[in-house]
Amino acid sequence: MSGHDATNEATTGEVVLRLTDVVKTFPGVRALDGVQLEVRAGEVHCLLGQNGAGKSTLIKVLAGVHRPDSGRVEWRGEPVSFANPQAAMRSGIATIYQELDLVEDLSVAENAFLGHEPRRFGFIRRGHMARRTREILGRLGHAEIPPGRMVRALPAAGKQVVSMARALSHEARLIIMDEPSAVLAHDEVGNLIRIVRELTAQGIAVIYISHRLEEIREIGDRVTVLKDGRTTAANLPARETPTSDLVSRMTGRTIEYVFPDRPAGTEVGGELLQVEGLTRAGEFADVSLTVRAGEIVGIAGLVGSGRSEVLETIYGARTAEAGSVRMAGRELRPGSVGAAVRAGMGMAPEERKSQALLLGEPIYRNVTLATFGRYARFGFTNASRERAEADRIAEDLEMRPRDVRRAVGTLSGGNQQKVVVGRWLLGDTKLLLLDEPTRGVDVGARAELYQVIRQLAAQGVGVLLVSSEVPEVLGLADRVLVMREGRVVRTAPAGELDENTVLDLVMAGSLMEGAPA
């Protein structure tokens, strides 16, 4: 099955995990259709594949969440079939899921040790637990997160750190990370890479899923590529395999992973959005910005720099304490999403699961969640029109599966993200607020999404974009704002900035500073 083992030193460890012909079906979908995988001790084994290729399903099989329909899983030389996640964890497999599974109303420490709290005489040893949590957080480079803090109060990246701490709280021999970097900013990713190296140095195997190829080159030893639930290439050397090769094995075609050109001589329209002196204590202060019709404005900054909060405040999801927001010259009532939507704004929020989706509802109803009223007549909804509109979006964004009557909860992470963004591509949105729009979206669909955003701008829509990926901000935006610690520290045309300049401007501050108290 392997055939072309890499010559990397790190991969000389013994094979700890071997999957042969694993199949897993869901009603109507063959999510895994004969997967082969081989992981060695001390290596970082990357899984690559398009949205819906089956990566998350595969790791859920390993983690004991799903039982495979057929096929063989050998863990440390023995065939296994985990009845539940606890069984997998006890035998040394810890998993960081793509969708965070933290209990929001428990503390950081309680989450980290959920289900295996240190006990004595039946009582939880709180002090001990807090100490060990602090130590793990220290190892993760986040000693500043208090173990007693409620998880609800943490920003997205902080939550990611906590779920990583949970994985480290077990004595695991294999740690599986499903898109751990999707919510992380640049410096955080560096941190993550350092941690992964420490783990592998101890002989721990890591399975790492990411859509960012640069990351895979930096961190990975070997790569296995999945396509439509099948292994299309196994054990490629992570550093040497050319990008075009990886992409074509993933997608079956070649994609030029580039940003669409800014159309030459674009006539950018009048000022659409005017924000002046916007302030929320503890989050951001005195933020002023404008977006013109047809212009894409990007906000760069670390997680916790107040970017998402600014976006949500402009949208009325948070109430501004000072300052004003004007759309086409008219001031909006602070703290009213309804007013913002009526004025033509739309926002794709940062956290798709908690902020954007009705998981049990069909795709089309999620896509039309903000617009179903427009297709309705006398209050009666028009389902066929809604399905048609959603179909168009699914087509544009390469949603898979294409059947818009399927429940959103059964989609892969990247496809759910497309639903969130797609919602605002309908109707007559004049200003699009996008918070991490490509989180978890694969290489091909990402290029597609950039194209769509560029087209919208060409039609006169203003776009305000927040992204942790500096290249994305620089590549897509016409103008860039750099935020640090709740303030705009620089505004410039994208052409005048490069990645290093932005990173220099952005660096400073930590996760906790932007967190709501």
Partner: protein, 366 residues
């Protein structure tokens, strides 16, 4: 879901006794539990078939225990109509309750609202205005109390359970005050006739139930109001960020429940030809139980009107079954309790997560 493979982790697990003790509350909710396929209510339809199966089973039990009665088709038909008549008042209340629960709330005050509306529309002063005045009064009282509930919950940020529990006590108190704890006789022939009139051999009350159920079905499945209800109950934050006025909608849901209570008050008053503060006792429990049995998720965001209706009819059938067999109401209540527990257990197995019960009734505000 699970296939024939052996559930064994062959690695001898280093079992920590403390760990096994707590394994139960680790809920891997974030992982693909939504393994059912949802295509325009397919799930609900399947469930409703199961409920119809239960009804058939109850029918068979009836036929087996009282074969003497069931051998007469006329009696069977008349008995079915009496079951539907029995179900009609609670059925109307249940339609409103279904909306409230799908919208992520709960209304414990429905029985009390029925009593208040019934008492208010049978005061001497109101009866002077005739049938129209009485109906108008009952409906206005129901909607008004619902609006108070909704305002407290949506804008006062009270937990629905607490707000409507308080209303339960207060509304019954007010009803006792207004009626001076007396039974108020309805002298209005038109009102009283609502319960005794038959059209084409079917009681008018059953038509009213059918009309309310049909209107509720259309409202839930075909209108923007229904869509908003599902969104607000399923994920209030997502609804809010999509531009839906979550607070206003929550308010309207309780008003709708109040409206149903007003209608039910007229029906019940007509049946008894009187009203009193203690009428419609424990209707909240019957309605909530019917909604649960009907498959509506107690955490909100999913549910069907037809399921709720079947739930009400199942309860009425059980009552009827006990009555025709001359059994005690105590035994009957025990059976009903068992059925509620069974329904919830089925729901948990189906939807797989107890955590949803903890998420319920939380009206997310910024």
């Amino acid at each position: 879901m699970s296939q024939g493979t052996q559930p064994t982790a062959t690695q001898p697990p280093p079992v920590d006794p403390a760990e096994t003790a707590t394994v139960g509350h680790r809920t891997p909710t974030a992982t693909g539990r939504l393994s059912w396929w949802h295509g325009d209510g397919g799930e609900g339809a399947k469930r409703n078939l199961a409920l119809i199966g239960v009804l058939l089973a109850l029918f068979v039990i009836g036929a087996a225990t009282r074969s003497d009665l069931y051998s007469n088709p006329d009696w069977v038909w008349a008995n079915m109509l009496s079951i539907l008549k029995l179900a009609s008042v609670v059925g109307v209340v249940t339609v409103g309750m279904t909306f409230v629960i799908i919208g992520g709330g709960i209304d414990l005050s429905v029985g009390a609202i029925v009593a208040l509306a019934g008492v208010w529309c049978t005061t001497v002063a109101t009866q002077n205005f005739g049938a129209g005045g009485m109906i108008f009064t009952a409906i206005v009282v129901g909607v008004a109390v619902g609006l108070v509930n909704g305002t407290l919950i949506a804008y006062g940020r009270l937990v629905p359970f607490i707000a409507t529990l308080a209303m339960l006590v207060a509304a019954r108190g007010l009803a006792a005050e207004i009626s001076d704890k007396q039974t108020q006789i309805s002298h209005n022939g038109t009102i009283n006739g609502i319960a005794s009139t038959n059209l084409l051999g079917i009681p008018l009350l059953v038509y009213i139930l059918a009309a309310v159920v049909a209107a509720g079905w259309v409202l839930l499945n075909r209108t923007t109001f229904g869509r908003r209800t599902v969104a607000v109950g399923g994920n209030p934050e997502a609804a809010r960020l999509a531009g839906i006025n979550v607070k206003l909608h929550t308010l309207l849901l309780y008003a709708l429940s109040g409206l149903c209570c007003g209608i039910a008050a007229i029906m019940l008053t007509a049946q008894a030809t009187s009203a009193q503060a203690a009428m419609a006792n424990l209707y909240e429990l019957d309605a909530i139980a019917a909604v649960i049995i009907g498959g509506t998720l107690l955490s909100g965001g999913r549910g069907t009107i037809v399921g709720s209706l079947l739930g009400v009819i199942i309860f009425a059938t059980i009552t009827n079954l006990f009555a025709i067999n001359g059994l005690s109401t105590e035994a009957q209540n025990m059976v009903k309790g068992g059925i509620i527990v069974a329904a919830v257990l089925i729901q948990q197995v189906q939807f797989g997560s107890i955590t949803q019960f903890f998420r319920r009734n939380r009206l997310t505000t910024s």
